[in-house]
C-alpha cells in the first residue's frame, strides 16, 4: 500500500510538495472506508440472507423470498426496519456503557479486516504480526459483550455476558495454540507470508501438510465458531434458555450492530482458516498480468472463505447447543491438550522433514477425498431411504 501511495504522490496528484503523512492517512482512511462500507458491512448483512436461505432449505422451508429477486434484498429491508426502530434504553440500565457496548463490538469486528489478505496485493496492511493481530483484536468482542450484559441490568443479559466472557477467553487458548503449528512450519506471523508458503493444490495446503495440522485446523475452526458465538456454542444468546442473552434489552440500530458483528465475524473466521490452512488466495500462475492474477486470487480467496462460511451455517443448522460445563470441558479437556499434542507433533515433524514431506500431502488429500465420497454415499442413502422426490434448485 505504501508503494501505491508513493507512486500516487510521485505522479503529482497531490501537488508538488504534499504533506506526506497526511496523504498516507487520507489514503488509508479512504481505503478503510471502501473496505468497511463496501465489503465488511454489506457482507455481514447479506450473509444473514444467505444463512436464512440455507437454513430454510435444510428445514424444508423456502426462507425469505419476497423482497427483491428471491428475497435477495431482505437484508436491506431488515436493516432499514431496524434502523427505524426506537432505540430503547432501559430505565435501570447504565446508559453510557449500554450505549457504548455495540460500538465496541463493531470495532472488534472491523479491525481484523485490516489484515485480511484478499489477494497477493490486496491487503490493507500486511503486518508482520498479522495473525497475532487478528487473534488479538477479535478477542475485543468480549469486552463489548460483557459491557452489554452488565449495563443492561437484566439477569438474562448478565448471564449471557458472563457466559460469553468465559467462552471467548477459554477458546482463545486452543485457537491460539492451533495457529502455532503453521507458524512453526512457516516461521512467520505475516498473513501473506503464511499464504506464500502454501501452494494452490490441496496437497500443498497446510490443512494436509501433516496429520497434526489437520487436527489443528479442525480445532481452530471449532474454536473460532465458539468465539463467534455460533451454534453449537451460541450459549451467550441461547434463545431457549436466556431469551436473547446479552442483547435482550437492545433494540433498533444497536441491536443491528451486535448482529452485524456476529454474522460478519463469519467472514473473519473463514479468512483465518483459509489463510492459514486452505492455501489462501493461491492460484496457478496462469497469467503474467498482475491485475488478472489479483482478480483470480481474489475470487479464489473469496470462494474458499465462503465455503467455510457455508460450512459453519450448515453446522449451525445441524447441531444442538452444548451446555456451559460441557463447553468448558470440551475446551480444557479436549481442545487444549490436543492443541499441545499438535504443537509438539508439528515440531517433531518439522525437525524430521524441515522442508515438508510431499508424500504426506498427497496421502492426506486422497484420504480427505475418500471421506468426502463416503459422505456423499451417506447423503444418497438418506435420500433413497426417505423416498422423497429429488428437487435440485440453487435458489428455492
Amino acid at each position: 500500500m505504501q508503494q501505491l501511495a508513493d507512486h500516487l504522490i510521485a505522479s503529482g496528484l497531490f501537488g508538488a510538495h504534499p504533506p506526506r503523512d497526511l496523504i498516507y492517512a487520507l489514503i488509508i482512511f479512504v481505503l478503510c472506508l471502501v473496505v468497511f462500507m463496501g465489503i465488511a458491512f454489506p457482507f455481514a448483512a447479506i450473509v444473514t440472507w444467505v444463512e436464512r436461505r440455507v437454513w430454510a432449505r435444510i428445514q424444508s422451508r423456502v426462507g425469505p423470498n419476497r423482497v427483491g429477486p428471491n428475497g435477495f434484498l431482505q437484508w436491506l429491508a431488515d436493516g432499514v426496519k431496524l434502523a427505524c426502530k426506537e432505540d430503547i434504553i432501559p430505565n435501570q440500565a447504565d446508559p453510557r456503557l449500554f450505549k457504548a457496548a455495540p460500538y465496541l463490538v463493531m470495532i472488534a469486528y472491523v479491525l481484523p479486516w485490516a489484515v485480511v489478505p484478499f489477494s497477493s496485493d490486496l491487503i490493507l496492511a500486511d503486518l508482520n504480526v498479522g495473525i497475532l493481530y487478528m487473534t488479538a483484536v477479535t478477542a475485543l468482542t468480549v469486552v463489548g459483550v460483557l459491557m452489554a450484559g452488565w449495563a443492561s441490568n437484566d439477569k438474562w443479559s448478565l448471564i449471557g455476558g458472563i457466559r460469553s466472557a468465559a467462552q471467548i477467553v477459554s477458546y482463545e487458548i486452543p485457537a491460539g495454540l492451533s495457529i502455532f503449528p503453521v507458524v512453526l512450519i512457516t516461521g512467520t506471523l505475516s498473513m501473506q507470508g503464511i499464504i506464500r508458503a502454501q501452494g494452490w493444490a490441496p496437497n500443498n495446503w497446510f490443512l494436509f501438510n501433516n496429520p497434526f495440522t489437520f487436527a489443528a485446523a479442525s480445532i481452530l475452526f471449532i474454536s473460532a465458531l465458539a468465539e463467534g458465538n455460533r451454534t453449537p456454542f451460541d450459549l451467550p444468546e441461547a434463545e431457549s434458555e436466556l431469551v436473547a442473552g446479552y442483547v435482550t434489552e437492545y433494540s433498533g440500530l444497536r441491536y443491528l450492530f451486535f448482529f452485524m458483528a456476529e454474522w460478519g465475524a463469519l467472514f473473519i473466521i473463514g479468512a483465518i482458516v483459509t489463510a492459514l490452512f486452505l492455501g489462501g488466495w493461491q492460484f496457478p500462475h496462469l497469467s503474467h498480468s498482475r491485475v488478472v492474477m489479483n482478480v483470480l486470487q481474489l475470487i479464489t480467496f473469496n470462494v474458499k472463505v465462503l465455503s467455510v462460511v457455508f460450512l459453519s451455517m450448515w453446522i449451525r443448522a445441524t447441531l444442538p447447543r452444548v451446555r456451559i460445563d460441557q463447553l468448558m470441558s470440551l475446551c480444557w479437556k479436549y481442545f487444549v491438550p490436543m492443541s499441545f499434542i499438535n504443537l509438539i507433533g508439528t515440531a517433531l515433524w518439522v525437525a524430521i522433514w524441515p522442508d515438508g514431506n510431499p508424500v504426506a500431502g498427497y496421502i492426506m488429500a486422497v484420504l480427505a477425498f475418500v471421506v468426502l465420497v463416503i459422505f456423499l454415499r451417506r447423503v444418497i442413502y438418506y435420500l433413497r431411504k426417505s423416498r422423497m422426490e429429488i428437487y435440485v434448485s440453487p435458489v428455492i
Binding site: A56, R57, I58, Q59, S60, R61, V62, W314, I315, A317, T318, L319, K333, Y334, F375, R378, V379, I380, Y381, Y382, L383, S386, M388, E389, I390, Y391, V392, I396
Partner: protein
C-alpha cells in the same frame, strides 16, 4: 485404560454422529420445500384445496331453513340467535332474525349436526378478520322470510332443489346414529 478409552470413544462418537447428522441435513439441499406460500403464491386458492368436511365460517341457506331451532339449542356457547314466529294468518313459521356471532363461534360443528336439511353448514372459508367485534356478527335474515317446509316427495322448486341437494350432501358426511355406513364409503373400500 478405561478413562483413555472413554476419552477416545467420546471423540469418535462425536465425530461419527455429527457426520451422520450432516449427511441428513445435506440430503435436504436436494429435497423440495414443504412450504405452502399462502396466500399469494399458490396455484389455486387455499380454500379450494380444503376437504369437504372443513369447519370454516358458518353459512346459512335461508331458503331451506326450517326454523326448527335445533342449531340454536345445540350450540354450547349460544352464539346463534334465531327468532322464528308463527305467522298469525298463514300459520307458517316466519324467520325474522338469524344471527351468528362468529367472534364467539368455536367451529365445533355441533350446530350443523342436527340440522334436518343441511341449511346451516360450515364453509371452507376461514379468512374472517375484521376491524370490530360487531362486524363479525353474520346476519342472515335481511327481512322476515317464511321458513322452508320439507315436502313429502322430492323437491320440485328449481330454485331450491340444488340448494337442498347440497345441504343433504353435507348431511351425509355426518355419521348416522346407529345407522349403516354411508354408501360413499363402500366404493372406496
Amino acid at each position: 485404560m478405561g478413562a483413555v478409552a472413554t476419552y477416545l470413544g467420546n471423540i469418535r462418537q462425536t465425530v461419527s454422529s455429527i457426520f451422520e447428522g450432516m449427511a441428513v441435513t445435506a440430503s435436504h439441499f436436494v429435497r423440495k420445500p414443504y412450504t405452502v406460500q399462502y396466500p399469494d403464491r399458490m396455484p389455486i386458492r387455499v380454500q379450494d384445496t380444503l376437504p369437504f368436511r372443513y369447519r370454516g365460517i358458518l353459512e346459512v341457506d335461508l331458503e331451506i331453513c326450517t326454523g326448527c331451532l335445533a342449531c340454536e339449542r345445540a350450540c354450547p356457547i349460544d352464539c346463534i340467535v334465531i327468532v322464528a314466529e308463527k305467522h298469525p294468518q298463514t300459520k307458517s313459521m316466519v324467520l325474522s332474525q338469524f344471527d351468528i356471532d362468529i367472534a364467539k363461534c368455536m367451529f365445533c360443528g355441533l350446530c350443523s349436526e342436527p340440522c334436518p336439511t343441511g341449511s346451516i353448514h360450515h364453509t371452507t372459508e376461514f379468512e374472517g378478520a375484521d376491524f370490530s367485534l360487531e362486524s363479525l356478527i353474520r346476519r342472515f335474515v335481511k327481512e322476515p322470510v317464511a321458513a322452508y317446509r320439507p315436502k313429502k316427495g322430492p323437491e320440485t322448486d328449481p330454485r331450491i332443489a340444488p340448494i337442498l341437494s347440497r345441504g343433504m350432501n353435507f348431511l351425509t358426511q355426518w355419521a348416522q346414529p346407529g345407522g349403516e355406513k354411508p354408501p360413499a364409503d363402500e366404493e372406496a373400500a
